[in-house]
Each structure stands twice: as structure tokens, then as C-alpha cells.
Symmetry: C2
Subunit: 435 residues, 2 copies
Amino acid sequence: MSYSDALSKALEALGASEGAKLSVTRDGRTFVGTLMPHHEFSAPDILILKMKSGYNVGVRITDSASIEVLEKPAERVRKEAEVEYREGLPKLVLIGTGGTIASYVDYRTGAVHPALSTSDMVNAVPEIRDIANIDARVLFSIFSENMGVEHWQELAEAVAQEINNGADGVIIPHGTDTMGYTAAALSFMLRGITKPVVLVGAQRSSDRPSSDASSNLVACARFCTQGNRAGVFVVMHDTLGDDSFAVHVGTRVRKMHTSRRDAFRSINALPAAHIDKDGKIVFSGAGVPVSDGQAKAIIGMERSCVLLQYFPGMEPSVFEDIFMRSRGVVIAGSGLGHVNEGMIPLIRKATDRGTVVVLTSQCLNGRTNLNVYNTGRDMLAAGAVTVLDMLPETAYVKLMWALANTSSPEEARMLMKTPIAGEMSDRRTADERRL
Amino acid sequence: MSYSDALSKALEALGASEGAKLSVTRDGRTFVGTLMPHHEFSAPDILILKMKSGYNVGVRITDSASIEVLEKPAERVRKEAEVEYREGLPKLVLIGTGGTIASYVDYRTGAVHPALSTSDMVNAVPEIRDIANIDARVLFSIFSENMGVEHWQELAEAVAQEINNGADGVIIPHGTDTMGYTAAALSFMLRGITKPVVLVGAQRSSDRPSSDASSNLVACARFCTQGNRAGVFVVMHDTLGDDSFAVHVGTRVRKMHTSRRDAFRSINALPAAHIDKDGKIVFSGAGVPVSDGQAKAIIGMERSCVLLQYFPGMEPSVFEDIFMRSRGVVIAGSGLGHVNEGMIPLIRKATDRGTVVVLTSQCLNGRTNLNVYNTGRDMLAAGAVTVLDMLPETAYVKLMWALANTSSPEEARMLMKTPIAGEMSDRRTADERRL
């Protein structure tokens, strides 16, 4: 749907194009804001204004309404920079996928676009050129809620290719929504990788003063060049300030806040390292040092898998079809990994037809253990597989990978119980961190 | 299935009944542990031993195996206590539901039983008799993973009845697995309650030295008698020690660790109060003071609701049946509350047939906001309802209640967006707590 003819003409006559700052008065109320693009679901007589608060408001333009143009739209300026190759610096490759880190708020409209090119991103952080020679390519330009299994596969192959072409590390700017899932997927697909592969995001787009895009990118580049750690990681702010960055193991990280800059947390494990604002890296334990060796992406993924959360009132009849048609089901159970007794026969029925049913905990923190209570023992007897302290999301990703890269459900089940990418641990560490 | 005849006879001859401490040697390996009850899914020639570590091991008894009885089973001693009524003390009613707080580890077998009576529980904490006169009744004796909607309903009615019969407060010992869900359900069903209704659990059973059962119960009784706060709350350890207890608002609390004593955390809100080990109560804000007035339980619940988590690779075709047959669907979306673009038509299709689709965030912390990105705006246009910073689990419980107690999906949708029991907030508080 677009504007009505009358409103289109009125806007044109006023020079009120998208991005203009308008003052709209109607029925005695005045709204001041930036004119947003007309939305396909909006009625033809509604103007959408982005207010100073950041919120949008829709104003219906009646005959009595008046519109005044306070400011014409500004032009978006794009910088192009000459890139010089510096001898002696390591080579990092940025593979762009989209997301807030690669987005900009259009100055004209206030809308967020996932369209910043990877070289734009690098040019916005000139100091990164002192750390490494950066090659940049855009693989996708999507918001991460639209990342799917096929994107993980394409990305893993691109990473392997870049490393085999001589990259000392790969940085993957990524939307934060599903960055944890992608990190887990790459961790399994690129198991044994000999160089750092680091996903990085931003909670605030790069042209906002509070953006974490540049500082996260710089921390990421430092870790890749000075960390001497191979593997798949996520680098994000560790605190609300710009003074500390955490390097999370790709299978252990989860977005734990919708908007804070320190949203990413390692669960059931310490971050592999912390980096301060001066680039000092402090490691939490031993890791795999960087080495030479070909990278290989094992990208097979069984698509017929689901991730579910147990809840009181969960009816086996409602979920039976999903259990029976899926090759893999991961349930975030309650507490130590429980479901109610009504669901147990469904676990057994699905297991009997070859579905692998994996139990994790919706508590997120702590280890599953189905040996403590009768419910758990009955679940184990029905075929449920537990995976120690693995995150539900990581278990879902691993199950897709395990089912595609083994030859029977029994093998997949065994693989689920075997730590292969830092994703689970049997250690009962004295964890006294504040939850 | 039971033991084979031969094994039954051998155990009997040895006096090796359940709870006996055995040493079993087979193929050169020796297992020492307490004989557990034979499990219906175990093979007839397997003995289950609970080891010192707390884990069970199954040992197949072959011809070459030898069994030695190290200790005969001990007798479980049950205490009975005379209860005297004390003038001038408030009256609290304990309504037992089961769970670890009401369970004991059978000394004979090491198995956990949900069978401790409510008066046993009170007798185990004599100091509680100095705080209040305690009446106790057992409503259920189940592990909380088996609590269902019908249990919430029965419990809400029992609470209202006790308050109308003169209780100054009601304490509900409850299994921790689903205590958050029950607390949310009671919060909506008993909206406007004039007395404190407090759920309390334990992460360690009451006969373990590290049990938190007694200290949580005492904190609970103190809050009920000295807090002057009406409403539904959860009281649990706030720290790993026995020195601080948190009083959580019933709609804001979530079990965030499988086993730690401080597993329960308030999400997107401060706890209503903290209680120290001497009983000093510090409040975080104003609340509703205790008053007189009849209690009324509004217990209608629409059972045809589900709670789902969005994940990359979620296929609309796999979930279509659930969306179309349910009257309510709550999705824990990614980030600000997103799903991928492929799921949006399903939201629209379900909304069009009258299903209410509510979006929350799997980040748990922070607020949903579907106005920031195109994906979110498309979801809103398709009919998705957002609920600020409400927990997914609370939204699921509220949706069941909203659908049953309104007369149209549109009314239910409006009710979901209206805070009625402290379950959501539009305030953007400066939240700087460590995640």
C-alpha cells in the first residue's frame, strides 16, 4: 500500500521526502520527527515519524492536519579509502554476513539497513589497519534471525577456503540474534581448525555514539593476531563500558540480554580470554595454539531436528507428530532435565522409531542429571540422552551435525555424549559466580 | 521386570535387601554401594548400586560375580511431635505439594522420596514454631515436573480457602523444577490477594547436611509474618551461603541453575525484598500491604496453549499444525523477539484463525521490541503481540489465563499487553547488574 494521491501530492509540494524532519499538527497535538518510509501495511493516510525517543509514531493526516518541513533530508556521505598493504602484518579476512554491526541507521529516515559493506566497516575503524592487513568480502547481508542452516554451511566453506588461501584468521561480523547458534555450527563444522575464527557483533549500529561495533572489531583483530589460539570464538563487550572484551568459546556462548552491550555470556564455562582496552589479553586456561594445516569444513547437517522447551501442560498428543517425523529432538527440560511423566512414553515411542531425543536444561546453568529422581531414571530407560552441561541451542546444532555425519542413531547418540568442541564438561567445577 | 529367580534367591540368602551396603566383584572390578530398588526397565540380572559419589551404577551379575554384604539396611526413624497452640502468634498454613523440600533420601536405599509429610517438615524446623502457629496440610505429594494446570487450579482454590478461613499467610513447599510456573499461575489466579502467599523449595533434600530446606522455610515464615506484603512470592537462597534470602515476585522469577542453592533469580526486576539470617527484611520498593478482604481464585485456564523457542532452521511446515490447533502460542524469539521471515506467514495465518501469538525473548533479560527492525515490523503487521520484558514462561501462563477469562482473542491480546500482576514493565531502568 502507498500514500493516497492527495497525501503524495501534498508531501511532494512541501518537499517532505523521506528523512525530512517534520512538524505535524492535528487536533491540537503536534508531532515532531523524521519521516520514515511508508510501510506496506500502513493505511494510505498515515505518516510514520521517528521521534527523538527512537520510537515511531503513526499520524493520520486528516483535512484539519497541517504539515511543516523543519529540515530537508541530509545526504548520506560514504567514504572511500585507499587501502595500502603493509609488509610484516598478519592477514585477516573479514567475511561479512550482515547484522547490526554491518548496518547503518539511514540519516534520512532513521531506518536501520543491513547494507554497510565490509570495507565500509573496516574504513570506519582505521586503527585496525595497524593490527593487520584486512581483506574483506561480503558473503550475505542479512539480519541474523534469517540465518539458516544453509548459511552456516556456506559460511563454514568460505572460512575454510580463506584459511587455505593463507588467512591468519577470519573475522565474521554477524547479527547478534543468532550469533551463538552460528558459532556453535562453525565449531562443529570446522572442528580442528588451526587458526582463529571469530564471530563479532554489535548491539548498537556503527553510527550511533554508543556503538560497540568498532571496539568489538578492534578487540577481535587483536585476539586473532596476538592471541595464538585456534578455534571458533565470539568476541563481544564483557562489561557495559568499552574497557573489557570477552572471548567466548563458540559452543558455550549465549545472548542473555536483548539490548545491553555485554549481552553475550559464557554459560557453564569461563570465557577463553579477556582483552582490555589496551589490547592486553588474559587467558582463562590452556587452549589450542595456532598451527599450520589445511582447513576442512564438514558441513553435513540433518535438517529434520527441532529444539523444544518443556513446560507444565505440555501435551504429548500435541507434540507427537513432531517427535515422530523428526530425526532429532532436543528438549530443554526442567531442572536437571526433566519432563512430566506423560511425555515419557512419547520419548520411548520416538526412540523406538529411531529419533534421537536429547535432554538439556532450561535453567541453562548447571548440569543435567537424570540419575537423581525417578522421573529422570524413567526418561533414561525410555531412551533419553543427556549431555552434561551443554546448552540447549548447542545441543540442537550438534544433533543436526551428529545425525548427518554418523551412520546410525546409535552412533549419533554416542557422539552426542562425547565432547568434541568444548561444548560439554563432566567437571564439577566450583562455580561461585553470581548467576 | 524383576530379578531373575536365581538372583532373587542369592540376594535373599545373603540378607542383601534394599538399602544394604554391598561389595560386588566381577571380572576383577569391585563396586561398593547401597542396593537400590530394582528398576522396571532394568534387566533381571542387574543390580543397581548407589555409589558414594551419589551416582548409580548397574552391575550385571554373571556366574563369576561375587556379592558381599558390608552393612545391613538401617531403619528410618520418624519423629512425632506434640504441637502446642500459642496465643498471639499469627497463623500460617503450609500447603504441601511435594518436591525436594518435602522429600527425604531413604536411608536404606539412597533413593529420594517425595513423601515427607508437611508436619514432618515443620517438626524438622522447631524454630518456626516461635514465629507462627503453623497448620499443615498435604495437597499433593509429587515432583514438580509433574505439576500440571489442574494442580495450579486446585492449589489456588486451596490457598483462597485457607485465607478465607483466617490464615495470615500461606506457605507452599514446592518442587523447584516448575516452581516459577506455579508462582506465575497463582499470581494471575489470585490477583488482588490480601495476604502473603509464598512458594518455597529446596535444592538439597532435608536430611542432607547442606540442605537449604529449613533455612528457606524459616525465611519464608518471617516474611509472611513480619513483611506486611500481600501477593504471590517465591523465597529461596539469594547466595551460596545461608546468610541471605531473596523474596521474588511470583511473575518475575526463574530457576537459573540446575543444582545451586541460589538457583532462583528475579529477571528484569529486583527481588521484592531480601531477608538476612537474623530475619531482617530489606525491601526494594513499595508493595501492596496486607489487608483484610475475601480471597477469590479465578482459575479458568485455556489448555490449548504452547510455549516454543525460535531457532534457526525452524520450519513453518513442522509447526503449522501446532499453530493452527492452539488457541495461544508463546514464542521465545531471538534478540528483541524475532523469528525468521519464513515463520511470519504462519503467524499471520494463525492470527487470522483466532490464535493469539505472543512474542517474548529467549535472551530472558531485557525487553522485546518489534519496532526496531523490518523483521519485527513485519511480525507486528502479521499479528504478533509483544509483552515488553515478560518472561516466556510467565507469558505462557498468562496467555492460558487470559484466553480463559476473556471473551475474544482481541480481548485476550489486550490483556496480554496490560500489566496486571507485576509481570511486565515499560520502564527502561538503568539495569547494570552483572548478567
